[in-house]
Structures are given as structure tokens and as C-alpha cells.
């Protein structure tokens, strides 16, 4: 790969994605995020490569541009937590050098300082994000809408959340956005997710990226810029993506209405 990069004119920028623990951390359609990244590169004729990292695999993280980790149940999280700790420094270095990263739900929780489960078990994180998570009794479940600001551009994000962990950001952490409807990080301070350089953490699944094409492209662009000089991405016809985005936004609004609450009560 080194020889490729000496000759920048000749080389077409390629996005190298590493899907972390797809076997264990795949609870809520997380695969959809990788599908979205791959398709959106293919539609633009950007060569894209996806590799998987499973427990114990020997992989050189510095050769990747974009990392993805999804959510998992308690048992999976414990297994992944141990393996991830061995690679914490390497992953933090990749992010420091500008690689993009998306972590969702259970994966997000493992990237903080620590995760103390409801049973009192302590899962030490890799401290990529300055935050800590505590298990709570009640699960936060439902559609979510978030207002986010990335690189100075404001926009909405939509998804579905289902977590019992409450995440608290430290003084060094920046949230991904503010909750418009839903619970977000902890259901109290109105923050959702975390951003550090081009690394994102969030509780939103749904899957997240197909319905939030601007976020998918933000990750792709940062992933590419990490190794190549790329000005921007060719626009795509995202009419269907935005339709789904709008529909999900409306869904969260409708859930807040009185009628919806009465219906829920009667059906329950």
C-alpha cells in the first residue's frame, strides 16, 4: 500500500472500511450502516473495501480509513470489551490521525472511559470519548430526532433508540447533537451522542446511515480525506433517503401527540 501512495496522481482514492466485531455487535440492523457506506461509494465510483475484525484477529488498524462498531447484548459486550482494550491505543491513534469512526449503542458505550452495568459489573472502555456510562433500570425505547451540528453545518438526525445505559459526557467531550424528541445519552441533559475529530458515537440505530445520507457522506468524506486530497463528494439522487428521513421525523412528532398516547394506552 505504501508504494500506492507515493504516486498520488495515479491513485484513485479508495475507502477502506473495517467493521469491528460484526459477529457479536450486530443487534439492531447495524449491518445497514455498512451497506449504506458501501453503496454510496459504489454509486460514485469510489473503490470501497470492507474487512471484518473478529475476536483475536490480527489486523493493522492504521491501514483503514473508516471504522464501524454496532450494538450488542451484555454477554457480547463483555467479550468485545476485553478484545477492544488490547487495541485501544491503536484505535485512538488512528482517530488522532484523522480516520473516521461510527459507533452505535453498545459499541459507543465501550469507547468511553467505563461502562458500569446495572448489575455493578465494570467494563473499562478505551477512553476515545471523554464519557462514562451507567446501566439504568428503565430502558429508553422509541423513535428519536436530534439536531446536530457537524463542521458548522446544522441538520437533523433520525433513528430509533433502545438502551438502558445512561451516558454522561465529560468536560472534554462534545455531543453529536441535541435531542428534539426521545431520550438520547441519558434522558436528562438533552444531549445525544459524542463527537471527537471524525469519530462519532450515538444511540441512534434504525439503521442510522441510510436515512441520514448527510451523515453517511460526512463519514465517507472524512475517511477519504484521512489519506487523500479530496475536495468533496459528487452529489447523489437522495430523494428517497430524504423522504424516509422526513417520514421518520414526522413519526417522532406524531408520537408526542395526545392522540398517539391514547391509542398506545388503549392498545396496551
Amino acid at each position: 500500500m505504501k508504494s500506492d501512495m507515493t504516486d498520488k496522481e495515479e491513485v484513485r482514492p479508495t475507502l477502506r472500511i473495517l467493521h469491528l466485531y460484526p459477529d457479536l455487535m450486530n443487534i439492531y440492523g447495524d449491518r445497514g450502516n455498512v451497506i449504506a457506506l458501501v453503496r454510496r461509494c459504489q454509486w460514485r465510483n469510489i473503490p470501497v473495501l470492507v474487512n471484518e475484525l473478529n475476536l483475536g484477529d490480527e489486523v493493522d488498524l492504521s491501514s483503514y480509513d473508516l471504522f464501524f462498531i454496532g450494538g450488542g447484548q451484555d454477554r457480547e459486550q463483555t467479550l468485545v470489551c476485553e478484545d477492544l482494550r488490547q487495541r485501544g491505543e491503536e484505535l485512538r491513534r488512528a482517530v488522532e490521525q484523522g480516520a473516521a469512526l461510527l459507533s452505535v449503542c453498545g459499541g459507543y458505550q465501550l469507547l468511553g472511559r467505563e461502562f458500569v452495568t446495572w448489575k455493578g459489573e465494570v467494563l473499562p472502555g478505551i477512553a476515545l470519548f471523554d464519557m462514562r456510562t451507567e446501566g439504568g433500570e428503565k430502558r429508553f425505547i422509541g423513535n428519536v430526532a436530534v439536531r446536530s451540528r457537524l463542521d458548522g453545518v446544522s441538520g437533523t438526525l433520525v433513528g430509533f433508540e433502545n438502551h438502558s445505559g445512561r451516558t454522561w459526557l465529560g468536560p472534554g467531550a462534545k455531543p453529536l447533537g441535541k435531542v428534539i424528541w426521545g431520550y438520547g445519552n441519558n434522558g436528562e441533559d438533552g444531549t445525544e451522542g459524542c463527537v471527537y475529530k471524525a469519530a462519532l458515537g450515538t444511540y441512534l440505530h434504525g439503521s442510522l446511515l441510510p436515512k441520514n445520507p448527510h451523515l453517511a457522506d460526512w463519514l465517507i468524506l472524512h475517511g477519504l480525506c484521512h489519506r487523500y486530497k479530496v475536495e468533496g463528494l459528487d452529489p447523489l439522487d437522495d430523494e428517497l433517503e430524504w423522504k424516509a428521513h422526513e417520514a421518520a421525523l414526522k413519526r417522532t412528532q406524531a408520537e408526542g401527540s395526545l392522540g398517539a398516547r391514547i391509542t398506545t394506552f388503549l392498545r396496551g
Binding site: R31, G32, I35, Q73, D74, R139, G206
Partner: protein, 497 residues
């Protein structure tokens, strides 16, 4: 239990007579209260029917339980043949309906809860409907499909003689949290069954096959033994992949679909139990169903089974196994399997405007993947209707569609009409599965979508409608209103009532 205690004289001495008459009053009040609960339940049922709430309403059960929480226990204790419960994530309705159908061939009509009404309220409603005003049941036995999370409560109330568990998938995690937690609650409930009870478990599901560990009941396993039925599961929708004994990753020697198959633990040697209720040979025949050679504890029979897909073979095994264990002869079971008509949208076909409509309920990744495999056998340029709802009964979280191999379906589709409350999500999934944008239509209105799909199909062609739970209900209702599905509705009503 409480009945017995109420009848026993508890005090002696001078106050005896007074206390006894007090006891009689209590008994009388209790009986009155029971009659009251039954009456109120029946009234609520009548009212909710008048109000058009239909079979899915929880109201009658809620009302009756509110007046007498003990009512299901009382009615169940009067059933001479006791209760049989069917639980699991997928296939409980089909299994329960097949089993009810076997009994109907013998002229017996068990008390049976309706489609989807599988919580304590639904079971209570079915009992209230089928008993007289004093709570004496009209049937000889109860046959109930039970929601997985409700199983502990149902076991406690109904003291079942037979419990069947079909499978456990994590599709309902948004309701229950952890699959392991759910399984251990079920395991605990099954541990309370007595020695005379029978527990019929799916050997092919590594989590289900461990549910009888702590139980005194006689455990019987069912499973698919045909070595040719090697599918491609354990990819995206894999759920319980760990050894319960030692926590190691299970090794699959054969995968039927999803996480169902033959497995063993490489670390401690724990193995899939050998099934006594087995499908020895399965010939899949697409949407038409399959031909299956069965063994019921050594008694072999061969049947033409009208439900499509390998996942339905598990339902066949669960129902035939339960029937056999409850004393029904294999000949009757064979006759029942072949004469079974689906009561409720699990692979039915209708004729509509000169086209055929194949309607199949698909509610989670495993179900969908199996249906996709079945539909793919039908051609390479298929007209499709995909309906995705996110109502409570469907699961409000639709992210599971990204775990379904829609890529397989995209290559077999000519066009897709996406509909339902999450029509846009469905359309988007098909776009990312590789279907051209021009081949995808979004039409939120279910009726318009149905007609559009049918009209765009050619004369005599089949439209394949893959629909989630409430969307299936809605389409059935719609077809019924158009006069298309009337006959089958009639059947459903007779069976359910």
C-alpha cells in the same frame, strides 16, 4: 388451591357455627364474584364486537381479570383434559391452529385463544367466551398460544399438562430486553411443572433445547433430521450461538436456517439432543408447501404439508408432536396435516382482478429470509408488494429490515410497491439492496398499493405480498370487504369461536 382452603373448616369451638356460616357467605360471595366477572367479560366482548374492535381486543379479558384475577386458574382447573400451551417467538399461531385442527377432526373443540391474543388477557377472554355464567367450560381442554414473556404467568395460572416451545429469536428485544434473561425466566417457570407434564422442545434451537434443564417434566424433543436441508443461516440473524454449559462458541455441523440446526460445543462436548419427533425427509415445493416424512416416537408417516418453507416444518413437528403426546393417532394427524387450510395469512393465495395474490406474513429477519428463499423459487421477474408497519404489534423498531437479505429478493424482482406506516424505510431498503430506483414505488395507502401492484402485474400473473403482522390483518380485512377472502374468514370464525 384456594378453593380447597376455602372449603376446609378452619376453626373449632363456640364460634364454629357462626364462622361456618361466615365461610358459606364467603363461598357464595366468591361464586357470585366469579359469575360477575364472567358476565362482565361476556358483556365487554359483546360491546367490543359491536364497536368493531374485533378479535384483537384485550378489553373482555381485562374486565374479567380486574374483577377476579384468579378467574383463569378457576376455569382451567375445571377442564377435564387440562391445558396445552404453545410458546416461542415464531410459529405459535400456526402450531396452535394445526393442533386445534387435529382435535376438530375428532369432533373436539378445545378452548383456544385467537390470533395474537396471547397474553393473560387474551387467554382469559377465550375462556370467558367458552364457559357458562358459572364459569364451567364448554370444552374438555384448553389450547393456548402464549407470548414468551407471559409463559411464567400462564404456567402458574393454568398448570399445563403439555408445553411446547417452538423457537426463540431476538426480534422482540425491544419488548423484553435480553434474550438470555427471557430464557432464564422461561426456564424457571418450566421448572415448576410436575412429573406428569410433558415438555416438547425444539432440539434445533440451541437456546430452546436447554429450557427443560431444571424441569421434572418429561422432556421430548422435535427437530429436522434430513441431512440435505443445509441452508445458509448463521450469517446476520444468528441469535443464540453460545454453549449454555461452558459459554464457548457453538459449532454448527448443519444449519437449517438462521440459528437452527445441528450443533455441538467444541469445548465441553455438549450436543444437540436427538429428537424423537423428527422430520426424516423434507422435499420443499416452493409456495405450494412440502412433502415430509415424519417420525412420531418411532411411528412413521408421510404427508403433503400445505405450508411453505422449512420454518413451517418446525411448526408441523411441534403440532404433530403435541398431538401425538396428547393421544391423537398418527392417521388422524396425517389427515389433519393434509386438510389444513391456513386460517390467517401465512402463505395464502387469492384471486383478484384476474391476477393471483400470494400473501405471506413475514415479521422478522428469519421469517423474511425463509419467505424470500421460498419466493425466489417462483421466478426472476416477480411483482412484489412489501408492507412494513411499525405499530406496537409489529414492533416499533424497523431496523431489523437491514438484517434481512433483501439483496436476494432484489435480484428476483421486476418491481416493488412499498407500503405501510414505514413504506419509505422499506423502499430505501430495496434501493440499497440493489433494485433500480425506477422499479420502486412508495405508496403509503395499503389499499392503493395493493391495487397498484395487482394492476401492474400481467394477466394471470402472481403478485407476491410480504407483509408484517398488522399489515397482513389490514390486507385480509380489505380483501374480505372486496368479497375476495370471504370463505376463509368464515372458516376462521368457525374455528375460533
Amino acid at each position: 388451591m384456594r378453593n380447597a382452603r376455602l372449603n376446609r373448616p378452619t376453626v373449632r369451638g363456640s364460634a364454629h357455627a357462626a364462622r361456618r356460616s361466615c365461610g358459606k357467605v364467603k363461598m357464595f360471595l366468591m361464586a357470585t364474584r366469579e359469575t360477575l366477572a364472567v358476565c362482565a367479560g361476556k358483556a365487554a366482548m359483546w360491546a367490543s364486537r359491536r364497536a368493531g374492535l374485533g378479535a384483537g381486543s384485550n378489553l373482555p379479558g381485562k374486565v374479567a381479570l380486574h374483577l377476579l384475577p384468579d378467574l383463569p386458574r378457576r376455569i382451567a382447573s375445571r377442564l377435564p383434559e387440562g391445558c396445552a400451551l404453545i410458546s416461542g417467538t415464531n410459529g405459535k399461531t400456526t402450531t396452535a391452529n394445526l393442533l386445534a385442527h387435529f382435535f376438530s377432526l375428532l369432533g373436539e373443540r378445545p378452548i383456544h385463544n385467537r390470533v395474537g391474543a396471547n397474553l393473560v388477557t387474551g387467554i382469559t377472554a377465550a375462556m370467558v367466551e367458552d364457559c357458562d355464567l358459572r364459569g364451567r367450560p364448554r370444552g374438555r381442554r384448553g389450547l393456548f398460544e402464549v407470548d414468551e414473556a407471559t409463559l411464567p404467568k400462564a404456567v402458574e395460572l393454568l398448570k399445563p399438562r403439555l408445553v411446547t416451545i417452538t423457537n426463540l429469536y431476538r426480534d422482540q428485544l425491544d419488548r423484553y430486553g435480553e434474550l438470555e434473561t427471557l430464557a432464564s425466566r422461561m426456564r424457571g417457570a418450566l421448572a415448576t411443572l410436575d412429573r406428569e407434564a410433558v415438555l416438547l422442545l425444539n432440539a434445533d434451537d440451541p437456546l430452546v433445547s436447554t429450557l427443560g434443564e431444571d424441569s421434572q417434566a418429561q422432556v421430548v424433543y422435535f427437530g429436522i433430521e434430513d441431512p440435505r436441508r443445509q441452508g445458509e443461516g448463521i450469517r446476520h440473524a444468528a441469535d443464540s450461538k453460545y454453549c449454555r454449559q461452558c459459554g464457548a462458541h457453538l459449532e454448527f455441523l448443519q444449519v437449517h436456517f438462521s440459528h437452527m440446526g445441528k450443533y455441538r460445543c467444541p469445548a465441553c462436548g455438549a450436543e444437540r439432543p436427538s429428537p424423537e419427533i423428527a422430520a426424516l425427509e423434507v422435499e420443499l415445493e416452493g409456495a405450494r408447501g412440502s412433502r415430509v416424512r415424519l417420525s412420531l416416537m418411532g411411528r412413521e408417516l408421510e404427508v403433503d404439508y400445505p405450508l411453505p418453507g422449512l420454518y413451517n416444518v418446525h411448526n408441523l413437528l411441534a403440532s404433530a408432536g403435541a398431538a401425538y403426546l396428547l393421544g391423537i393417532e398418527p392417521e388422524v394427524i396425517a389427515q389433519g396435516v393434509e386438510s389444513y387450510r391456513t386460517v390467517f395469512g401465512r402463505g395464502e393465495s387469492f384471486s383478484l382482478r384476474g391476477r393471483r395474490l400470494f400473501l405471506v406474513l413475514s415479521k422478522n429477519p428469519t421469517g423474511f429470509n425463509e419467505v424470500i428463499r421460498t419466493v425466489k423459487r417462483e421466478g426472476t421477474s416477480l411483482p412484489l408488494l412489501l408492507a412494513l408497519n411499525d405499530r406496537i404489534a409489529d414492533g416499533r423498531d424497523v431496523s431489523w429490515i437491514w438484517d434481512v437479505d433483501f439483496e436476494e429478493l432484489a435480484s428476483a424482482a421486476r418491481f416493488v410497491v412499498a407500503t405501510g406506516t414505514r413504506a419509505e424505510d422499506m423502499a430505501l431498503r430495496m434501493k440499497y439492496a440493489g433494485l433500480k430506483r425506477e422499479a420502486i414505488t412508495v405508496e403509503r395507502d395499503l389499499r392503493k398499493a395493493l391495487l397498484q401492484a395487482v394492476d401492474r402485474a400481467g394477466e394471470g400473473e402472481t403478485v407476491y405480498a410480504l407483509t408484517t403482522y398488522t399489515a397482513t390483518l389490514d390486507i385480509r380485512r380489505m380483501l374480505s370487504r372486496m368479497g375476495v377472502a370471504e370463505q376463509i374468514w368464515e372458516n376462521a370464525r368457525r374455528k375460533g369461536a
